[in-house]
């Protein structure tokens, strides 16, 4: 018996040594390769999209599904190191500054008796992320929600004394010093590989404010810009060159992203501009109203001494006709000599924002409040009567055009488009010049708006239900970020000859359900 017992240790060793092994094991690094890139220290720079912001807040679950974090998981298969993120304190997402909440909690989709409640509401709870609680150490994910291109170079952007205004609360949490810049803190980590997706907010602040800001094209001093302004393309180009110049010094490679078109983002596409749906009678009433209004205004102009022909030409633009079915809304525009009343019907390409009061739209916002008094005046006019000046004024002021802050008109869209085109050509040019991987985020979101299918479903840009965009209508869901990660992996493989696998899109979630709302 003794003779056999002495073999027992060998037996035990055999049990441990004989784990099953794949012919080509992923875990054993036998499947993929890094090509010419070195992923050992990946640092991501950018804005909210890089940070993993979603549902109008930054929160832990969103950060875990940020596209850089998804990428780092794949980089790990070919020698990528640990990827650290400045995680928020909780999944509520609200920020506090000295104990006072300064940003809202994340949006969730609540329900009522098995039906989703739209619009989404912020989740209830007392958020625990205090901006002044400085996080220690450096972080691979340097995405700062709200950052514009030039902010990445701005000293003091992470200085708590600059709040609110010059500083950014998200960067305050993890900046290395009061004077640190995002780029400086990134370079201090000696990144071996980087991603840079910046420039979205250089137009998006303007766009989401309905173009209430200023197009700063021609103004080369970004310190004079307000949050809702469009960044001058030359400023953007100069900043972007500095960012790429700095990052390519230490890194073996990197990936850059262009700026998507706002027309592929549900924030701008969910409320159609022709949601004025009328029955035949109301359409007739409205048409009659605007004919009357044009008539009244013609008379007014003539009384002010405008020649009759010219008066009719100017007032004629207000004789807007309405048809049974969907009609485009009336929008307020700046008062000009050619449009002295400062309103017109929306043009086909013009956009309404997701934040517009849809209840008000149903009550005459964007058309006319046809009050009994107004109808009375219309009746008077139909019978050939002449309205009094008060009655004429009543008709003119019954027009309730959509405010500037709720819509993007053609001129505003042109400003956005001009800047974006200039930014994108700079981004692509610098990517080519520096042999960087280039992700056509613009093209990707165009495809999402057409629908991208995967085993188990289809991702679209439809608000709430599409799966690509989070409940704020601007930022992506984990599934949307997974699509960005996959597009990135394809670009990296193509540029650096690496072989990195794509992630399983269907394994990433979409919007979060919860009835824990106030």
């Amino acid at each position: 018996m003794k003779n056999y017992i002495k073999y027992l240790p060998f037996l035990a060793f055999g049990l441990i040594a004989c784990e099953p092994e794949f012919e080509e094991g992923i875990e054993e690094n036998e499947v993929y390769n890094a090509g010419e890139a070195d992923f050992s220290n990946y640092v991501s720079l950018g804005n909210s999209l890089t940070a993993g912001y979603a549902d109008n807040a930054l929160y832990v679950q969103g950060q875990e599904n940020s596209f850089p974090n998804i990428l780092s998981g794949q980089f790990e298969l070919v020698g990528g190191g640990e990827f650290t993120q400045p995680l928020m304190a909780d999944n509520l997402g609200g920020l506090k500054l000295n104990g006072n909440q300064i940003t809202n909690n994340r949006l969730v989709l609540s329900s009522n008796a098995g039906q989703p409640v739209i619009p989404p509401s912020p989740i209830a709870g007392d958020p625990q992320t205090e901006v002044t609680n400085k996080l220690s150490g450096s972080f691979n994910n340097m995405g700062v929600p709200g950052a514009k291109s030039y902010h990445l170079l701005a000293p003091g952007y992470g200085n708590v004394a600059g709040l609110p205004g010059q500083a950014n609360p998200y960067f305050v949490r993890f900046s290395s010093s009061d004077n640190a810049t995002v780029l400086g803190d990134a370079l201090a980590q000696n990144p071996s590989f980087f991603s840079l997706w910046i420039g979205n907010n250089d137009i998006l602040g303007y766009a989401t404010s309905g173009g209430t800001g200023v197009d700063q094209t021609g103004n080369l001093d970004p310190s004079t810009y307000a949050p809702n302004d469009i960044t001058d393309p030359n400023v953007f180009a100069s900043v972007y060159s500095q960012l790429i110049g700095g990052l390519t010094e230490s890194a073996s490679g990197g990936v850059v992203y262009n700026i998507p078109n706002i027309t592929d983002i549900p924030f701008f596409t969910t409320v159609p501009n022709n949601a004025l749906v009328l029955d035949a009678q109301t359409a007739g009433n409205l048409t009659g109203f605007f004919q009357a209004l044009a008539g009244i205004f013609t008379q007014g102009l003539i009384q002010q001494g405008v020649p009759a022909q010219q008066a009719q030409a100017i007032a004629g633009q207000y004789a807007i006709t309405f048809n049974e079915g969907p009609n485009r809304f009336i929008i307020d525009v700046p008062v000009t000599q050619t449009n002295p009343l400062g309103f017109r019907q929306m043009q086909p390409e013009e956009l309404l924002l997701l934040t517009i009061n849809q209840g008000a739209l149903a009550q005459g916002y964007g058309s006319v409040a046809l009050s009994p008094e107004v109808l009375q005046v219309l009746g008077l006019l139909q019978q050939g009567g002449s309205p009094s000046p008060e009655q004429a004024q009543l008709v003119l002021s019954a027009v309730n055009g959509i405010d500037d802050e709720d819509a993007l008109d053609a001129a505003e869209l042109q400003n956005i488009s001009n800047a974006r085109t200039a930014y994108n050509s700079k981004i692509q040019g610098l990517a080519q010049a520096n042999n960087l991987a280039f992700v056509d985020a613009d093209g990707l979101l165009q495809n999402v708006s057409q629908g991208i299918s995967f085993p188990g479903g289809i991702v679209t840009s439809d608000f709430v239900s599409g799966g690509g965009f989070s409940l704020d209508g601007v930022h992506l869901t984990p599934r949307g970020y997974a699509l960005v990660a996959n597009e990135t992996l394809r670009a990296i493989n193509m540029t650096y000859g690496s072989d990195l696998p794509e992630v399983n899109v269907g394994a990433y979630g979409t919007v979060t359900l919860s009835d824990n709302v106030n």
Binding site: G25, L77, P455
Partner: protein, 418 residues
Amino acid sequence: MKNFLISGLLLMLASATAYAGGYRVAAQGQRALAMGHAGVGVVNSAETAFFNPSGLVYLEDKFTVSAGITGVFSNVKWQNTSTGQFAETLQDPGTPFYFHAAYKVNEWLSLGLSVSTPYGSSVEWEQDWPGSHLVNDINLAAIFIQPLASIKLSKHFSIGGGPIFVTGNVNFNRNANRTLTDEQGNRSNITIDDTGVNNTGWSASFMFTPVEELRIGFNYRSEILLNAEGGEATFANFPNSTLTPQNGTTEFDATLPLPAELTIGFAYEMNEKWLFAFDYQRAFWEVYNSLDIDFANPNVATSINPRNYKNASSYRFGAQYKATDNLTLRAGYYFDESPVQEGFFAPETPRNDGNGYTAGLSFQISEKFAVDASFLYLRFKEIDASYDSYTENGQTVPFEGTYKSNAFLPGIGVTYKL
């Protein structure tokens, strides 16, 4: 002896791990296991009670007991090279055990008792692993208790069998789907749990001994359906929403079949030193068509999980060599066909065809008392497989990947004769 049995039963409560086709655990006798688990024609100890009850009457001793326990160390690895994901099961050794006893009433009648755990499965993946919508962990165990009678009809022919009382338990956890979480990001999951699921079955066998050196055996064990009725289903980490099931418990009904098994084979005693055995076994897994979990809560849809198993065969070869009066050496091999069909490879029983290599020995400590040891190395080929019956939004979402697994089963037992 008593203490040994009690500790064995306690260990059993921990779990038993599947390593044969489906969730069949072939470890019902160390002597047989060392010979490729072939035993339908072998008469050498109370182990015969399980392998072929009709053979009990040929045992020479008045009273014989065989008892033992086996440690199951199984490893399953999974990877998907199109996504870069990989996972492996956690090491949670199962401990199937057996207790067989035979009492010779007279020359033509023997009575016996067999307690064993021929079915069971314990597979534990890392929580929330990529296949967590199919299984996080499963633990099922069934104890067979069978009183037996063995009757010698002639020198050449005997019959045997008896009723089987089964008591089983099941615990199965998986995530609700691939993405749903609560407000904190915890994956929504469902656990079904039931214990004391009882049912009965039977086995019948015969043994034909044309010449003294050759025994031909036949054994049939009936199908037994474990009907879990009114078990407890626990919904956890669902968000607070009327769009999803509520957290808490509800009852469930489900049926897990333990398939019928037919074995024929022979044992040939070449001389005093050598004995060879062969078994052919057919397991009627076709009965396992679908695992349907019906929840009492009317708001929760019945979970339909097609399995579509097929009947499967195994081929068992064993040899025994009596080295000295006190020492007997054994070795064997078996090929175990998997009942799992292409496209139905579910990670809760990730089994393809297996090759078992066995060895073992018996050491006669005294005239009455012997120690039996066995060792099984079970090897499965690397296989690309998928489970294609999971759907989301009405669309099929295959769970694909490459599996590679093996298992080591060291076992120890005792044989006691009076």
